[in-house]
């Protein structure tokens, strides 16, 4: 099993969610996060006060899936999350040792 963690633009959440659902990925965890990569922040002036926007709002999506679905999910994510602009985000892939559904204690792919 693999865990895919994608940091994407806030505005791409709905298209990404829809695209994943279209290929049969319904389960995911979505979090509101803040951060920056190479995009870094910038300085804003508001009513005479200067402040730095160094951590930008992003969305983190986490999905755990069987190994054989990984490439399809990555392709879908890349297509749906890409705007071509700086700040489109990143995708990380991890190995997952075990998954257990708490309700009935199913394990492995069955629990996904």
């Amino acid at each position: 099993m693999k865990k895919v963690e994608a940091i994407i633009q806030t505005s791409r959440l709905t298209p990404v969610k829809d695209a994943l659902q279209e290929i049969g990925i319904d389960g995911m965890t979505v979090s509101e996060v803040r951060g920056h990569g190479r995009q870094k922040g910038h300085t804003e002036i508001y009513r005479g006060n200067e402040y730095t926007v160094d951590l930008l709002p992003k969305i983190k999506i986490e999905i755990v899936l069987p190994d054989d679905r990984l490439e399809q999910v990555l392709d879908t994510l890349l297509q749906a999350a890409k705007t071509g602009k700086i700040g489109d985000g990143k995708i990380f892939v991890y190995n997952v040792e075990e998954a257990i559904r708490i309700r009935n204690e199913e394990r492995g792919d069955l629990a996904l």
């Binding site: 633009q9 806030t10 505005s11 959440l13 709905t14 509101e32 996060v33 803040r34 804003e44 002036i45 508001y46 009513r47 005479g48 926007v53 930008l56 709002p57 705007t83 602009k85 700040g87």
Partner: protein, 920 residues
């Protein structure tokens, strides 16, 4: 349901007392299963929860007594040194299908030989084997004389003590001596602890009864609140009379029957929930609401159409229980002396001839006038909103009578009468909506049915459950919580605390509080929030169209002017868009910022919508507004504000022609002689902001003064009072230095300029609007001075009077205002915001005459002001000038020279004792 302290519960139908006493321990599981099934079947048939809890208590009494016989004593009355007592819900004979069974093994002293630990354990084990959820405690009588704050739940459970078996004298000692003695000595501590527990429990449930999925036991208005009301009453009995009594007799007579009715309803529902869930689960979920409605649970013959209707029934019952518990707690509070009490007494100083205030409650001093008195009605709520008061029961009745009289009076009037309540009540309602505790006043108005009178459609969302995943409260409760959120921001803005506010939202609350402090019409934001979700009560797919209709009708009904009406409708129509934008759009994208800013039109509207959005999200549920969302909302607001401030010069009007909507709207305010072609020509070249910051009626007035039939150069000055400030409008042909002349003239009159918008059209006609405060109340105390000011300004502008003459008498004549906060000066030149002018932004400490100093320096250096946007926030001046020099943008050298000149002048002003001396 009166408590019985002495007797075990009634017997089991079909069994004599003797038969029950001979039930063998081995027979108990079969007996229990059969009887449990029987009483559940009876409940399913009768739906009477009250009967069920009595029957189950009687059944459990048999089980406990027979087990007592088996393990402790064949003769129930034989033991002399100890007794078995039912406490808590079991003691008061309210055992729901899965309630705990709480037992107290009470010994006369520590030496009770018959009460051995092993035997007690064996008895408890036997009861557990019967699948009863047993809770137990062992105490001596001496323990029960002591109040242990950390064992408060045990102390309070003693108030429901009921004899089961064992030494009768031991129980009598508990009931007649230990508990009365304990209460007499520790009443204040017990009541304080009980209130503390209750407040915490309510807070855990959001402090409201109006949950979409309420907990029927622990939420406000739930069964636990009935117990609190009983306990408080019983404590008062024991302390005042030294005797036990039916606690319900201590409830206010006017509330008693409704509260009992509420209790019966809640009993029915809790039984149903336990039965359906097969556990002690008291959450009334959507699914179970459907089922309860289908079974007409608790309705006792009344009809309900669907789950939403049934839930309204639930809320009515919970409301009466909640009101009783609140009243009982207030009663016990007032009986205690405390600092809080002294503070409440202090509030009585706010009493006036119509209302008196006693211990934080407001009382009417006279009966309502025949025919009702709307002004006095609103005055009552204004006092509540101003001083954070509660309505006394007398005030509640007074409001009801007043409304009844108003209703009768309405019926007597012709249907087209324009003075029918609440038509035109806006001037009365408006102060209530912007005062510090408007949330409290509006809650009281809602409870008394006043809001439903003011806003016709409001009753559609009364206790309305709309199911969605995020919302936690009914629609009316959500609405009131949005206003509570504004009150919270107001409290933050008023607080002088410099340290960061606690919690992850602390810094954001401060920022949004500043925003609330900056807007001019918080009352319009509150009104928009009051109506923003009314459409949810209408039959439609989307709620927005219904809410817009409600906003429009409410605004007309109450008598808002055109500008106010448009603002409220705008806020309601767009109330979902900002939260949608931060979730769905790239709010850092300049195109998105431009698109949204143009939709908003003005910074003021943007700020108001931002506050509506903040409050709307916050009121969904306590976790809905996260720091992430707050930051995203704030940043989007900043981007749009900056865009609006920096794009004024680029966004110019190019009106399509006489048939355009803008022209037609203005023409509607002018006579038939007004030529639409002339109107179109007049508008061309003004910044788009001109249309957004003036009503069509105002623009029509500007037009009629600017365009004279004789083609003369226009020159018109008018001053009018608005709110707490004055507004001067100048319509004239542009000429060099006219802006600084105007600023200097107002300074010479001792006026403090707060806000300016100075625009010009393609023909060089200027429309300058100066908002100023009358520092020395010259115009307020001498009404004739207004005409003098207007005439004198005309004299100055036509060259018949020297401005310097006027200024010489003013300069140095009064001391500078002492700044409470230091605002550092910041000057920026932005050549990129406009294609043909340079934007000068100046942020500095405000002082009277600042604008004159800056604008005269600009004029002295040969620059022209095309647009000026002047604003003040407290003691901060935020000025923007779009400048050209000989028709072109300023060179960097010219900009540098102007910057130095301004900085030098401000430095001179600061170092001059009067603050005003340095002559331009």
């Amino acid at each position: 349901m009166p408590n019985s302290f002495m007797q075990p519960a009634s017997s089991i139908p079909g069994y004599s007392a003797t038969e029950l006493s001979y039930l063998s321990y081995a027979d108990l599981p079969r007996f229990y299963a059969a009887e449990r099934a029987r009483i559940w079947a009876e409940f399913e048939s009768s739906k009477d929860g009250g009967q069920y809890v009595l029957a189950r208590t009687a059944l459990v009494d048999v089980l406990v007594q027979q087990t007592f016989r088996e393990f402790l004593s064949r003769d129930l009355l034989a033991p002399r040194n100890f007794c078995l007592v039912a406490v808590g819900g079991y003691g008061r004979q309210e055992l729901f299908p899965h309630s705990d069974v709480d037992l107290l093994f009470l010994s006369s002293d520590n030496r009770s030989p018959s009460l051995k630990r092993d035997t007690v354990s064996a008895m408890l084990q036997a009861l557990w084997d019967l699948r009863l959820r047993i809770g137990h405690s062992n105490r001596t009588l001496a323990d029960c004389y002591q109040f242990q704050p950390d064992q408060f739940e045990f102390t309070i459970s003693l108030l429901d003590a009921r004899y089961l078996a064992g030494g009768w004298e031991v129980f009598e000692n508990l009931r007649q001596r230990a508990i009365p003695h304990l209460v007499a000595r520790e009443r204040q501590a017990i009541v304080a602890r009980l209130e503390d527990f209750t407040v915490r429990r309510h807070q855990k449930h959001g402090g409201t009864i109006f949950h979409l999925e309420p907990n029927v036991k622990d939420a406000p208005g739930g069964l636990r609140d009935v117990q609190v009301a009983r306990w408080l009453s019983q404590i008062a009995n024991l302390e005042e009379k030294g005797a036990w009594d039916d606690p319900e007799l201590g409830w206010p007579a006017a509330m008693r029957e409704a509260a009992r009715d509420g209790f019966r309803f809640l009993c029915d529902v809790r039984c149903f929930l336990h039965g359906f869930r097969s556990r002690d689960d008291n959450l009334l979920t959507y699914e179970l609401q459907e089922l309860a409605a289908a079974k007409a649970m608790g309705m006792r013959g009344e009809l309900c159409a669907d789950a939403a209707d049934w839930m309204r029934h639930y809320f009515r019952k919970a409301r009466s229980v909640d009101a009783l518990a609140t009243r009982m707690m207030e009663g016990s509070q007032s009986a205690r002396t405390s600092l809080y009490g002294l503070y409440q007494d202090w509030k009585s100083r706010v009493s006036n001839t119509d209302f008196s205030v006693v211990r934080g409650r407001i009382f009417p001093r006279r009966s309502p006038l025949t025919g009702g008195d709307p002004a006095l009605l609103f005055q009552l709520f204004e006092m509540v909103a101003r001083h954070d008061l509660e309505l006394s029961p007398e005030a509640g009745r007074w409001v009801e009578e007043n409304l009844r009289s108003l209703d009768e009076n309405q019926r007597a009037k012709p249907s087209d009468s324009k003075d029918k309540f609440p038509l035109g009540c806006w001037s009365h309602l408006r102060p209530v909506l912007s005062l510090p505790h408007s949330d409290r006043a509006l809650r009281a108005m809602h409870q008394q049915g006043v809001i439903a009178k003011l806003i016709l459609h409001f009753r559609l969302i009364d206790a309305l459950v709309i199911r969605d995943y995020y919302h936690r409260y009914t629609v009316d409760e959500h609405t009131l919580r949005t206003i509570q959120c504004l009150a919270d921001l107001r409290a933050v803005a008023r607080s002088s605390q410099q340290e960061p506010l606690p919690g992850s939202m602390g810094s954001w609350r401060k920022k949004f509080a500043e925003l609330l402090f900056e807007i001019e019409r918080p009352d319009l934001v509150t009104l928009a929030l009051l109506v923003h979700d009314i459409g949810k009560g209408m039959e439609a797919e989307e709620h927005l169209p219904g809410s817009i209709v409600a906003a429009e009708q409410t605004a007309r009904r109450l008598g808002l002017n055109e500008e106010e009406r448009e603002t409220v409708e705008f806020l309601v129509a767009h109330h979902l868009e900002m939260s949608s934008a931060i979730r769905r759009l790239d709010t850092f994208d300049p195109q998105t910022v431009r698109w949204f800013s143009e939709k908003m039109g003005t910074v003021e509207r943007l700020k108001m919508l931002c506050l509506v959005t903040y409050a709307d999200i916050q009121a969904v549920n306590p976790e809905a507004m996260t720091p992430w969302k707050a930051e995203a909302l704030w940043q989007f607001h900043v981007h749009c504000t900056n865009y609006l401030a920096r794009s004024v010069d680029e966004e110019r009007l190019e009106v399509a022609g006489p048939a355009s909507a803008e022209v037609q709207k203005i023409a509607a305010h002018l006579g038939p002689s007004a030529n639409p072609q002339d109107i179109s020509h007049f508008l061309n070249g003004f910044p788009r902001r001109y249309l957004q910051t003036h009503t069509s009626e105002e623009i029509a007035a500007h037009f009629s003064r600017a365009v004279s039939p004789k083609k003369e150069k226009p020159l018109h000055v008018s001053v009018r009072r608005r709110e707490s400030w004055y507004e001067l409008t100048l319509i004239a042909a542009d000429q060099p230095g006219i802006f600084s002349t105007l600023a200097g003239f107002l300074m010479a009159w001792g006026m403090n300029i707060l806000k300016v918008e100075a625009f010009a059209n393609c023909d060089g006609i200027i429309v300058d609007t100066f908002r100023f405060s009358d520092l020395f109340r010259t115009l307020e105390l001498n009404p004739a001075e207004k005409a003098k000011l207007e005439n004198q300004l005309l004299e100055v502008l036509t060259g018949n009077l020297e401005l310097d003459t006027l200024l010489s008498s003013r300069l140095g004549s009064h001391a500078a205002l002492h700044p409470k906060v230091r605002i550092p000066t910041r000057i920026t030149f932005d050549p990129a915001s406009s294609s043909h002018s340079t934007l000068l932004e100046l942020v500095t400490q405000d002082f009277p005459g600042l604008l004159y100093h800056v604008s005269s320096l600009i004029a002295d250096q040969g620059h022209d002001i095309h647009i000026a946007l002047i604003d003040t926030e407290g003691q901060k001046a935020i000025d923007a000038f779009y400048l050209t020099s000989q028709g072109k943008k300023l060179s960097s050298e010219a900009g540098q020279a102007l910057r130095e000149a301004i900085l030098n002048r401000l430095e001179q002003v600061k170092s001059t004792p009067t603050g005003l001396d340095p002559s331009p």
